[in-house]
Symmetry: C2
Subunit: 459 residues, 2 copies
């Protein structure tokens, strides 16, 4: 049901010409980075402050209009698609860094600030915000989807790095969760409840983020292994010894071939680990030596260290280029990236099974992973618009998810649920999925907040 003209007029009273029903605005807010598609929303609003968000939500709640938050539109599972129409709230004009408190190691930002913008602002403070999902995503979107990335093994995900939130509930009530203190035992952890709730409970209007010291020294290395098992054993032993890794990434033989083709490099086409250590020059040296010894015990070969910024950038460029490099393996292809996370001991079998399944299904692609978390992605290369291949790829992804559950893992390590994985929520959570639905119903009784996502159908 489209938004009634009288409701649009009420919304226009709040947003003025920052409420758009123009075709190009609607189309821009209907796209997604992946194959997920939905009709465009009925309208797009661009609020400037919390008070506007509150007034907009109160109007939408009164008239049962769906409201969907929007950041940079870089989610991979179609989180922000308006599957039931309604109003998309594009939060990117709330883009101020409100406060940086180096002595308290925290920053207060509006949701439209991107992680790169924040880190640029932080440069002179000696601090940084480490969560890095790859895309230069908005911090509001990263909180809503509980994003993580290559540095989670050391610094945690958005779960660990959001200290406090301001958010607006369905009826327009503005709440504050958490505090500026490093810890608290004062009631339900509503911050953690909102982080990862994918816009189904509230619109985030302000974030207080935990900052970390920029490392004094950094060393990175790449190392080949004969098998994935060897590589994973190396990582597990390193972690059990308490050697802190800032990043530890896995790339399979196919991913290395893609990188070689893309960058003109000559890495051996076998499984690789890429590792980074942060700290004081002494601790980085000690950690790197310890890691080198463990890698050698596990048949690591061709260890190449990079300590200068240039060398490190070249090394990590291989990992960062991995997605676009892989696309070249099948010219003209589009990619589908899967995402599961399993206990470390289950990782070799999970990667092997996923890779085999993909090849048996007649698809090509590669495997990369945040191996320190037990999190990996199979990137499958599909002919754009080929529905048969999409269906086959969905089958591979679904079987990966079920295998993850069978060994105590999760259907999504970091890409979230969106429209892509909602069908798997019952399998993962059982009765607890119903609890999520009860909480949703309690806070959003009219089901206007990103309806059709994350929780069981309410109406």
């Amino acid at each position: 049901m489209p938004i009634a003209p009288s409701v649009l007029s009420e919304l226009r009273n709040v947003l003025g010409d920052r409420l758009s029903t123009g075709e190009s605005d609607l189309a821009l807010h209907a796209a997604s980075e992946t194959f997920h598609r939905a009709p465009p929303p009925d309208a797009v609003g661009f609020p400037l402050d919390t008070a506007e968000v509150s007034r907009v939500l109160a109007i939408c709640n009164a008239h049962r209009v769906p409201v969907i938050g929007w950041g940079t539109g870089t989610s991979l599972e179609g989180h922000a698609l308006a599957v039931r129409g309604g109003l998309v709230l594009d939060m990117m004009r709330m883009d101020k860094v409100l406060d940086i408190r180096p002595e308290d190691m925290l920053a207060v930002v509006q949701p439209g600030v991107t992680r790169e913008t924040l880190n640029t602002e932080l440069r002179a403070t000696g601090l940084m915000f480490p969560v890095d999902p790859g895309a230069n995503a908005s911090l509001g979107g990263m909180a809503s989807t509980r994003a993580s990335g290559t540095t989670a093994v050391r610094y945690g995900t958005m779960r660990q790095n959001v200290l406090a939130l301001e958010a607006v509930l369905a009826d327009g009530t503005v709440i504050r969760t958490g505090s500026r203190a490093a810890k608290s035992s004062a009631g339900y952890d509503l911050t953690a409840l909102l982080v990862g709730s994918e816009g189904t409970l509230a619109i985030i209007t302000e974030l207080t983020l935990r900052l970390h010291p920029q490392p004094e020294d950094v060393a990175a290395a790449v190392c080949a292994f004969p098998t994935l098992e060897d590589a994973v054993t190396c990582v597990a032993q390193t972690m059990q010894m308490g050697i802190p890794m800032a990043r530890i990434e896995f790339m399979d033989a196919m991913a290395m071939r893609a990188v070689n083709m893309h960058m003109g490099s000559a890495y051996p086409e076998q499984p690789h680990l890429m590792v980074e250590f942060n700290g004081s020059p002494q601790s980085v040296k000690a950690d790197a030596e310890s890691f080198g010894a463990i890698a050698a015990e596990n048949h690591g070969q061709g260890f190449a260290w990079a300590t200068s910024l240039d060398e490190r950038n070249r090394l990590w460029a291989a990992r960062h280029a991995s997605y676009y490099a892989a696309l070249k393996l099948r010219p003209g292809a589009t990619g589908i990236s899967t995402d599961i996370c399993v206990p470390m001991s289950e990782l070799p079998a999970a990667v092997a099974a996923a890779s085999e399944d993909m090849h048996r299904s007649g698809l090509m692609g590669d495997v990369v992973g945040h191996v320190g978390d037990g999190n990996f992605h199979v990137l499958m290369l599909l002919e754009p618009g080929n529905q048969d291949e999409i269906a086959i790829a969905k089958g591979v992804a679904e079987r990966m998810a079920h295998r993850a559950l069978a060994v105590g893992g999760t259907i999504s390590g970091e890409h979230g649920i969106g429209v892509g994985k909602r069908g798997l929520m019952d399998a993962q959570h059982g009765a607890a999925w119903g609890v999520m639905g009860s909480i949703k119903r309690a806070l959003d009784p009219n089901n206007i907040m990103n309806p059709g996502k994350l929780v069981p159908d309410l109406n």
Copy 2:
């Protein structure tokens, strides 16, 4: 209203002679470590497994009987007092370590396992569970109250160290939250919602806990500072440089006097920091040297390092004895420990204001704190049963909490809310306290789970 005989008989069908209405059992489950008091519960049950907990809750829900979870009874704010009567569920017979998976760095335990028991079981694995609230508390209780302690600055609180839970809801439904994977972005973070919910949403029946490597090497030190400001500046600079401290504790001049009296030591009676570094021998040495330089810049004096286990134990004995040592400052006294947490930059002013307020109010006591978290306790020494002094001490504690809120802090860093701080919840959370109430009502519509605690009154 006491439990009806017919309901007791239903409960006895489940628990047999593990349902007690004996006076001594009731009295044992009416006490608290502090001055908080309540009438005894109507009955105490000792379940052996999840199925029993589920059947008991279904019965209690049907008959509107309050159910209060009980661990070691060591909470400081009267969390487990049966303020509305009902059934106390003593979980201490569910005390099995169910699984230890060193390769996945996790352990699965029943709620009645204490942290010391778990660490004894872990000894041979090279891993440990680091959260240490002082008391040898049950892990179920520690999760329910979001406990932390001296090691939170390095390892986090229960928030960061509970990976997954099994819990029973008011109606007897058994749910599982979280997974064995290191991270997940699959829906609402129900694990984080239950951790710290103080038994108002569910009874925890199983915990999956994150383990950490036992440090290869440990060094500890004690150091005097002319002022608290110097000590806090030293800690803030250390943290901003990314030097990882395993513990960093503050004790004021009065606390040092108490320790000297208690242990026959001769520490100067001025503010002290006690610090511990964990890691490889090289990293510990490097970290300790860096810290020593920062301490010297901030007028640290009389630095004493302890690297052998004996020396370290002697050094930490001073901190651990602090509570009992302080009691000797006023022979026969009972102690009330307050607990707030503020942003680091606000810590010196918050400690000074609290200390002054205590002295101006005519009370004596000392200040100790987990300074790396901005969390501190004023221990006030009261004549047992002197209601005037209790009232004055409550006033000091309440003003501390309001000052914490005024600077963006929290009314409780780690002791929780219980009956002691519920009156401050509205001041901290405002509209968000109402959200906590909505969640409670959604999951426990009959308000049987630890009623009268944590959330606004529902009935």
